[in-house]
Each structure stands twice: as C-alpha cells, then as structure tokens.
Symmetry: C2
Subunit: 318 residues, 2 copies
C-alpha cells in the first residue's frame, strides 16, 4: 500500500530493508582539497553511483515493492521525462509488472532508450504539464494501472529517506546535512531521516535562485508554485509537492539559494578534484557551502549528491 | 637507494608498506551494464581516485621515501609536463626536500599550478626532448639533486606494482589483468605483481595504434622507439623504457592496440555508465575488451584505470 501518512522511523527502517536487494549501498567520499578550500569536513553521499544514476531508484523500489499483489496487478504509471521514469520502469521490471510511462515527445533520446531498456511502455505527449497529466489520466483509465507520483507521495519520501539514513550510519556525527530541493521528495526524506536518526544535525536545503519556489514557500509561509524556472539544474525545476512542503516546514532548518554561476563552478570543481560525474542538481549543495564558508567553517557537513546524469555533450562551463 | 635490479616480491611488499601513509588505497569498481555488454566480469582498479589523480603517486612516493638522508639532502629532480611532475613534487614536499621540475614552457597552466601548489621549483624550457634533457642536466649540475626518472627506474616500477598487488587482494582470482603501456612503468609493475601474487593471471597490455612502439618492440623482438606518436591518450605517447622493456618481454602475455575512435568510445562509456572521470590513457584498457569480446567472454578481467586527469574543456567526443 502507498503510505497515507508522514513516514515514521519504522517506515524508513522497513524501506531500507525492502530495497536493499535492488539498490546500491552507495559510498561516502571525501576530498582533502575541497575540505581545505572550505575549511569544513564534507562527506559526499554518492547517489550518482546509484542504480539508474540517481537516488530516484530508492523511492521507486520502495513504492513498487510495498504494494500488494492486488494493487500491482495492472502495473504502475507515471509521467516523467527524467530519472523517475527510468527508476519506476526498472522497479516494475524487477517486480515483473508493466510500467506505463508518459513522456514528453521532446525527451532526450538517451532517456527514452533507458526507459525502453527496462521494458517501460511509453506513451508520448506534447511537452506541457497539462498534456502530461491528461495523457497520464487516459493511460490509467485504459490500463487501470496505479499512479506513482515522483515526489508528492509518502512511500517515495520514505524510500528517498534511506539515503540519509545510510549517510548517518557511514559518517561520524554530522553538524549539517545539505540536500537539493526540487519537488521535495529527497529533501523531505532527508529531513525525516535526520530527525529520527541524528536529531542534532541541522538540515539545510540547497536551491537554485532561478527556481526558488521552495525558498519562497518556506520563508513566506505559504505555498508558492514555481513559474517557468530557468536553471541548469534540470532536476530542480519542478514545483514543491504539498506533502513535501508540510514535512519541510517542520524539519528543515534553512533554505539557501545559489546562482547559476555558483552551481556551474561547484560542479566543475567536483568533476576536476573528485573525478566523479555529478549532475548540476547535485552541485548546488557544494555551491551552498562555498557561498557560506563562515557559517560552515570547522563543522562536519554531509551532502547528498543526488545523481550523475549530466549532459556529456554540452558541458555547463563551456 | 634507488633499486638497481628488477624488483622482487619483497621489494613490492616493502613498497606497499612504505607508501601506505601517503597514497590512497583506491577502490575497485564494477559496472553491471558494461559487464552485460561485454559478457565479462570487469574489475576496475580506480587510480583516477589516487593522489594527484593518477597511479604516478605510488612510484614517486616509493622512490622518494626509499632514499637515504644522504641521498636526498640536495633534493630530487625530473623533467615532466604531466602527472609525474606533480607526483614527485608532492612526494618531495611530504619528505620536506626540494623537487626541481623541468617543464616545457607550453605545459598546461593547471599542471604548472599543481606543481607549484606542492612547492615544486620549476625551470621552464622549450618543448623538445633535447631541451628537456639538457635543461635537467644543467639543473642537476647546479643543485646536485638526484634524478628520478618517471618510468625507466626500478624503484618507480616497484611503486607502480603496488596498484596491481592491491587489485589482486581486492578481487576473486582474475583470468586477465589489462594495463595501458606508455613508458612502461605501470605495465612492468603490473606484470611483476601478477607474476608474484597471481601467477595464473595473464597480463595484457593496451596501447593506442597511433603510439604502438611497445607493440612493435614486443612482436619484432627488438627495441623500437616511438616517433611522433599522435594519440589522444596523452599519457601513452612516451617511448618504452629499457628496464621496462626487459620486464615486459618476460612477463607480459600479449599487447593489443586500439584505434583513437575505440579509445574515445570506451572513455565516454565509462563516464556515462560509471559516473567516473577517467583520462583517455585509461580508456584504452576497456577498448581492448570491446575489440576482443570473444577472447574475454566469460572471464574475470582486472583493468588498471591509470588516472582521471582528463581535459574538461575539450571533450574527446566533441
């Protein structure tokens, strides 16, 4: 069953066990030179090494494998142009049920191929939110598949929370954990895991200035949707979900925004010094530390590297 | 003292202990999708995560820390435009002795900065081998520093051998180990470690077709120098060293060459699927597997990823 309430500590512990066989227990890396540059001790939880290249595998597996036989008998469905599409198709394939994926017709070929590789059944639509939602409704009407929302969904949140649970288990006590925020699935999960497993750790969200709906919602105290966000951090263009917003209001300490230049600089630094590929959405967390070195100096900071699905044909700094 | 004979098993064991505090014990990664594409089980020994971004740190540390106080009192010297320059400067800084580095004046700024960062004392020269060698002689005459050749040097070879010693300790029994060959320091070390620690493992060298001096020397049975090699694998442009050639003749099973296109394709695949940055010289090892899938099918193959110092401004596939 998809969870119908905020995940508690047992839900996250169960999610960890449930997905263990299907996702990677990703490493935590450190980088001496970046530590020296920032005066902090940074622990990078590397979800770029996760299945399908992003943390999304956690939520998708947790959701698909927590459903009853009855619930999944007609498969699952979603609309997504990105990592959630792949992650859900992969989880469904592992459970041997169909996954119906609505994708905008201008999706990258590499993403379409990846969904097909996991036997996802794709329906294309014009690239607007309305078309995506109405096409998904049609698909569900026809197939009776169960919709799995990419982030505004408590089972997804519990799945994403397992990354921070692991990070906490893999590191000495952390003063801060920084996670990026787009739809808020990862951030809500991060905040819940910190709250349950390391209550003295402050949770900070990192957001592009150019897609600052979470920042505005958080500080204006009311839900502000994202309108035409224009950021290189493609994973963070989505509007905050409602379930996510409620959890974030309660358990996140601060949201810090950064500019496009700061994101690109941080991304290049990670590639160059750590020799790992991270997507722009992941670089925002390091950009936040560079922008606020005084605030973090001398502390231990865990950061969630959300994924590694960067565009290898168009480098951000070129 | 710099070793004056082919390293034996004790020399390599001692090198491992000697450098332990100064270099990273790098991880061995695997990639399910690349395994599926090739039908082999590949173990990537990730020296791109090594200090200064390449295996060169091993040889430089082993050499500098095996010298007596008397031998190092005037420092060490070399000519290099690349990773050996950084690795030697870093090792010297760790031992608190001067490192005199002769660099061609057209060296990349990022390499010059890295050597300076480790307090290397740079002398620039015009970018020819003659100028590099004569300038180095002058520097040594003036300083009485000890020359540390980047590969034609048994202490360097013993240091590089520790990567394969670790790889063998980190993996189930391997059928093959593939290492790239340029000057032959890494390959000679790889071959010796396989010979001592895993004698049933066959050692294969990977070389660019466009810089095939090792291939020709190996199969023509006489030393053939490299003339104007034109390959993207910048670390493999050097001519094979004499000490290296003798070891390779004895302990390497096969040398396989690959084209520039094959190197670039393999490099991109590693970046895309494994989310790690490897330099072109490292991609040749995977290119060799793709070129000979039948020969490797069903076997366990260890490959040495030599480094991660790729040009992030000029992507090979663009």
């Amino acid at each position: 069953m998809i969870l119908n309430r905020v995940p508690d500590i047992n839900d996250i512990n169960e999610a960890s066990l449930r997905i263990m066989a299907y996702v990677n227990h990703t490493p935590v890396l450190t980088c001496k030179s970046i530590n020296a540059m920032t005066g902090t001790e940074i622990f990078f939880k590397c979800e770029n090494f996760q299945k399908v290249g992003a943390f999304k595998s956690r939520g998708a597996c947790n959701t698909v494998f927590s459903l009853t036989e009855e619930e999944v008998k007609n498969g699952v469905a979603t609309h997504s142009s990105g990592n959630h599409a792949q992650a859900l198709a992969r989880a469904a394939l592992l459970r041997n049920i169909p996954a119906y994926i609505v994708m905008p017709e201008n999706s990258l070929k590499v993403k379409i191929d990846a969904v097909r590789n996991y036997k996802g059944i794709i329906t294309f639509c014009v690239p607007t939110l309305e078309a995506r939602e109405s096409t998904l409704l049609e698909v569900i009407k026809k197939t009776n598949a169960l919709e799995v929302h990419p982030y505004d969904n408590y089972s997804i949140i519990a799945g994403q929370a397992t990354a921070t649970k692991e990070l906490i288990e893999q590191t000495p006590p952390l003063d801060f954990i920084i996670a990026p925020v787009g739809g808020g699935g990862l951030l809500a999960g991060t905040a819940l895991s910190a709250h349950y497993f390391s209550p003295n750790t402050k949770v900070i969200a990192a957001e592009p200035e150019n897609a600052n709906d979470a920042y505005r919602s958080f500080y204006e105290g009311k839900f502000v949707p994202s309108i035409n966000p224009d950021t290189i951090a493609d994973g963070l263009r989505t509007s905050l979900g409602e379930r996510n917003y409620e959890i974030i209001k309660k358990h996140v300490n601060q949201i810090i925004t950064v500019t496009e230049d700061e994101i690109i600089k941080a991304m290049r630094l990670i590639w160059e010094r750590m020799k790992i590929i991270v997507e722009p959405s992941s670089a925002v967390v390091l950009a936040v530390i560079f922008k606020n070195t005084e605030a973090f100096k001398g502390s231990r900071v865990g950061v969630i590297i959300s994924g590694g699905n960067a565009d290898l044909d168009n480098l951000a700094w070129k």
